[in-house]
């Protein structure tokens, strides 16, 4: 016996023996086994390959049919959507998704059909899933923003609108982003979020195409946000491209009017009316602007006499306003000593009028300010008890506001 062990059974080996005698004996039937195993292995591989091939052809046929059915049902969905059969469209899109569950466009169309069919909750669930897949998809963000806006969730709606504005769009991305931006601004304006709306409008204005219609739209939104100087700029840009654009002319007139630039407003409004004589709003504004310009004693390049005459006319106008107001309310205005603010204003007006004349105002030009301050105060005090001012009284109030640096 050597100290070597049989590699098969681990038993001690005789000298020079390669394996234990028992293993050598066992090897004979094993040969048959070893001949069988490769054959079985080949058979298993052949069966696997055959089954693999069958599965391959079957699944390809299946995939082709699924694809065909998905397209067919998607087309039906679109047709039904066009003919406004919304529930049928939803069903068709749902069937298309069964055959092509991963198709983004199909699911998006389903969500849009669900929205059209007023099934908002279901639509939102689909859109959320789509958003998780493509968080920067502009269309998905826009739909989600609209749903959030409809639910009144302001912060979420704004977030999705931003996603739509800065997300990617497959077709005509610049126009789609602009449209989404416009919708965001309108949403912000609806919710009186003026600073946010102004910021978004400035960003939107920077990316506008050379299209007067867009410029007018943005100008209108600037006006709604109360940013009249930027509105006027947009209208001016539009007029540079289309000088006879009635909306731009009217808008520019309104913006200039709101800025207290009545002379400029009058020019725009006249042009607007020349292009569109049926523009009642511009006509009304033009009348007011004319009155303001006629009554304004502080206008530049005005002669001293004319300034004095205007002051006296304004004093008379304010006195008339107080008298007519008192008459309408059935109260006495000329009372000594005065009991109310109106009576006090009236008494001061009378006193001043007695002292003033064209010559007096020429001698003492500082009285212009004193007189006009009294006029403005009387007009303001009259608004509360006597109702909104009209005509020349309104013009005087506009002058008062401009004088005090307020927005008109």
């Amino acid at each position: 016996m050597s100290d070597r062990l049989c590699p098969r059974c681990g038993e001690p080996l005789a000298a020079h023996a390669a394996e234990h005698p028992n293993c050598a004996r066992r090897r004979l039937p094993g040969l048959a086994r070893w001949r069988r195993e490769p054959l079985l292995l080949i058979a298993v591989i052949a069966i696997t390959a055959g089954l693999w091939a069958i599965t391959y052809f079957l699944t390809h046929a299946y995939a082709a049919r699924q694809d065909h059915l998905a397209r067919e049902w998607f087309q039906r969905g679109q047709d039904r959507l066009k003919s406004n059969r919304l529930d049928q469209a939803v069903k068709a899109f749902q069937t298309a998704i069964v055959y092509s569950p991963d198709d983004f466009a199909y699911r998006l169309h389903l969500a849009q059909a669900l929205i059209a069919d007023q099934q908002f909750r279901q639509a939102e669930t689909y859109l959320q899933a789509l958003w998780e897949e493509e968080p920067d998809n502009g269309r998905v963000n826009l739909e989600l923003a609209r749903l959030a806006a409809a639910r009144g969730v302001f912060a979420i709606a704004v977030r999705y609108y931003h996603g739509a504005v800065y997300g990617f769009w497959n077709h005509d991305p610049a126009a789609r982003r602009r449209q989404a931006h416009l919708e965001l601004v309108q949403y912000l304006l609806q919710h009186k979020a003026m600073p946010q709306a102004e910021s978004e409008l400035i960003a939107l204005a920077a990316e506008l195409p050379r299209d007067p219609a867009w410029m007018v739209r943005v100008g209108d939104l600037f006006q709604t946000a109360g940013v009249y100087d930027r509105a006027l700029l947009e209208y001016s840009n539009a007029l540079a491209l289309d000088p006879r654009n009635p909306a731009a002319l009217a808008g520019a007139g309104q913006a200039a009017f709101q800025l207290g630039r009545y002379e400029e407003a009058r020019q725009y409004l006249r042009r607007a009316l020349a292009v569109n004589p049926r523009d009642q709003q511009s006509a009304g504004l033009l009348r007011t602007a004319d009155l303001v310009l006629q009554l304004d004693p502080f206008a530049h390049r005005l002669g001293a006499d004319e300034r004095s005459r205007r002051v006296l006319r304004d004093l008379q106008q304010a006195q008339d306003r107080l008298e007519s107001c008192a008459k309408d309310r059935g109260m006495a205005i000329d009372v000594t000593p005065p009991q109310t603010r109106l009576q006090s204003d009236y008494a001061q007006l009378l006193a001043l009028r007695r002292r003033l004349s064209v010559a007096a105002l020429r001698r003492q030009p500082e009285l212009v300010d004193t007189a006009m301050d009294l006029v403005f105060r009387a007009e303001r005090d009259a608004v509360q008890p006597c109702g909104a001012a009209t005509g020349p009284d309104h013009a005087l109030l506009l002058l008062a506001r401009r004088r005090q640096g307020e927005a008109p």
């Binding site: 699924q66 279901q122 689909y126 959320q128 899933a129």
Partner: protein, 575 residues
């Protein structure tokens, strides 16, 4: 539980004894991969065939509509009945019990004709609208393929018994596209025990089959799960309510099958030809009159439930009708599975409960879709009684870990309610109705294992030491009544010595030799108090007095056991 430690000096198996099982182990693992691939291919074909059958029999619209809804299941029911009775009598039912029977009764044998029959009949039945699913048949198809391969390779009986579950796991994994759930289900419900050898093969086959399935059918999960908000602690109560409802729904479902199935089986034989046709007609009528969603496996509707596509009232109706349709389908003997209908019922029920709760408590953050997902697990735990699989399945199909707490709570409640009112699980119930006594995995899980600590007696006195001489030892024990004594040896180990052997050694002139030098090298295997009692049975014949020692101190004797102690413990434990 570790195997008892056998000191190297006592047992010296030859390399041949070790090499042969080792080689077979490796071959078995390789075979598991091949089984997984074949089962995966078969299940892919099976699923595609079901889809083709459905599209050609019911039309491509989802949900289907028109006269086909009634005609297809009724006529296919008649055809399937004839096929089952005439050609494939073993394909009735779901396939889970047949696979268990292969494991426990038929030494792993599943006739290949069963694979063909199950494939054909289930595909026709499910495709025509019977409210059954493809998973359990896929499980049986996998088991059948594995069994056929095992027979060709002439595997040992032990391996043959295990090969059917390996194939079953592969089939189920491919059908579910969820390998973890498949492995757990097979371990939990078919094999019933965790064993490293089987687990490796089951996992390999499941993974191989899922790889094949995804190769052909893509990586899309069974359901596209939307994102769910994180659950607030207070909302767990709402999920607990779902567990209660799901538990009772499971009981109703199981009781309906328990009551109707034997009655239909007891009817005259000729009616067996008609029962699936009548069942198909009834299901078709349900579909025709407005609820086609309950036909077939219904995965697309589960998906829709998870996307809030139904009102809670509709979800409730669908759950109720699906219980009815599945009961009718199953008790008529039509081949097909219970998994998919269980998922469907669970999802609808969950959605309905969630929707109702949401309408009562609008502040709940989760939508009814989240409840639909949890509901899947609830019915799985309550009806199929696979609590662990139910939890992992929801996690696997959703990929959402935040849902785990509601799932565990709801599933546990449903499971407890179902156990209370339906003590016998559905698969055990079915096998007993068929006159087969298969082991109940639920009962086996709950059997308390007797351990050595339940049988052992206090350490005897004296305990001899290996360093003592034979003479010293003899003097110590010769006046004692006991006939056998334990010897503590060095290095740590134990031997058994009879008084007569001591006396004989002394008479042979070995009185001055130490016990260590005269005792044979073979020692008693080391047993510890936590070892199962039957471990001791392997050794008590060779060593009538077995020492039980501390795990951390092998010299410390905790007690001893004899055959009498073991038998006594078994008697009292059983009582």
């Amino acid at each position: 539980m570790s195997e008892p430690h056998v000191p190297a000096t006592t047992l010296a198996p030859g390399a041949a004894e070790m090499a042969q099982p080792f080689r077979e182990d490796r071959l078995f693992l390789l075979l598991a991969v091949i089984i997984g691939v074949l089962a995966g291919l078969a299940v892919v074909c099976f699923r595609v065939t079901i889809e083709f059958a459905s599209q050609y029999l019911l039309g491509s619209e989802v949900p289907p509509s028109g006269w086909r809804l009634v005609a297809a299941p009724a006529l296919i029911g008649l055809l399937v009945a004839a096929l089952v009775i005439r050609l494939f009598p073993r394909v009735r039912g779901s396939g889970v019990n047949q696979t268990k029977a292969a494991l426990y009764i038929y030494d792993g044998a599943v006739p290949f004709s069963t694979v063909i029959g199950k494939f054909l009949c289930s595909a026709l039945a499910i495709g025509s609208g019977f409210s059954l699913g493809p998973e359990d048949p896929a499980l049986q198809i996998g088991a059948g393929i594995a069994s056929a391969l095992g027979r060709q390779l002439k595997l040992s009986r032990e391996r043959m018994r295990l090969i059917a579950p390996v194939g079953a796991a592969a089939g189920l994994a491919a059908a579910f596209n969820a390998p973890i759930s498949a492995v757990l289900f097979v371990i939990e419900e078919v094999i019933g025990r965790w064993s490293a050898g089987v687990l490796g093969a089951v996992v390999l086959s499941a993974v191989a089959s899922v790889v094949v399935e995804r190769w052909f059918l893509g990586f899309a999960p069974l359901f596209s799960i939307p994102a769910f908000p994180t659950v607030r602690p207070g909302e767990l109560l709402a999920y607990a309510a779902l567990g209660v409802v799901g538990g009772f729904a499971s009981v109703v479902f199981a009781k309906a099958i328990q009551i109707l199935r034997p009655r239909l089986k007891a009817m005259p034989h000729w009616t067996q030809y008609l029962q699936p046709g009548v069942a198909g007609l009834m299901i078709g009528l349900i579909g025709y009159f407005g609820m086609p969603q309950i036909m077939g496996a219904g995965y697309q509707y589960v998906d829709r439930a998870m996307h809030d596509q139904f009102t809670w009232e509709m979800l409730g109706i669908l759950a109720g009708l699906k219980i009815l349709a599945t009961t009718i389908s199953f008790v008529s003997g039509t081949p097909g599975g219970m998994f998919a209908p269980t998922l469907f019922i669970g999802a609808m029920l969950g959605g309905a409960v969630g929707g109702l709760e949401h309408s009562i408590f609008p502040t709940l953050t989760a939508t009814s879709a989240a409840y639909a997902l949890v509901g899947i697990g609830v019915l799985f735990a309550g009806f199929l009684r696979a609590p662990m699989t139910s939890v992992f399945m929801v996690l696997e199909v959703s990929g959402n870990y935040s849902i785990i707490l509601p799932v565990i709570i709801a599933n546990a409640i449903a499971y407890l309610i179902s156990r209370t009112f339906q003590p016998v699980p559905i698969f055990d119930l079915l096998s007993r109705q068929d006159g087969i006594d298969l082991p109940s995995m639920e009962e086996e899980r709950e059997v308390s294992v007797l351990r050595l600590e339940n049988a052992m007696q206090p350490p005897p006195d004296p305990v001899l030491l290996g360093s003592q001489t034979v003479q010293e030892a003899l003097q110590r024990v010769e006046h004692l009544p006991a006939g056998m004594f334990l010897v503590r040896r060095s290095p740590p180990g134990w031997s058994l010595l009879r008084k007569e052997e001591l006396a004989k050694m002394a008479s042979l002139g070995k009185g001055e030799m130490t016990l260590d030098s005269v005792l044979p090298a073979r020692r008693i295997p080391l047993l510890h108090p936590d070892h199962p009692l039957d471990t001791a049975m392997h050794y008590v014949y060779d060593w009538p007095l077995l020492p039980v020692v501390h795990r951390a101190d092998l010299d410390r004797l905790e007690g001893v056991v004899t055959m009498e102690d073991i038998l006594h413990a078994y008697r009292t434990g059983t009582e």
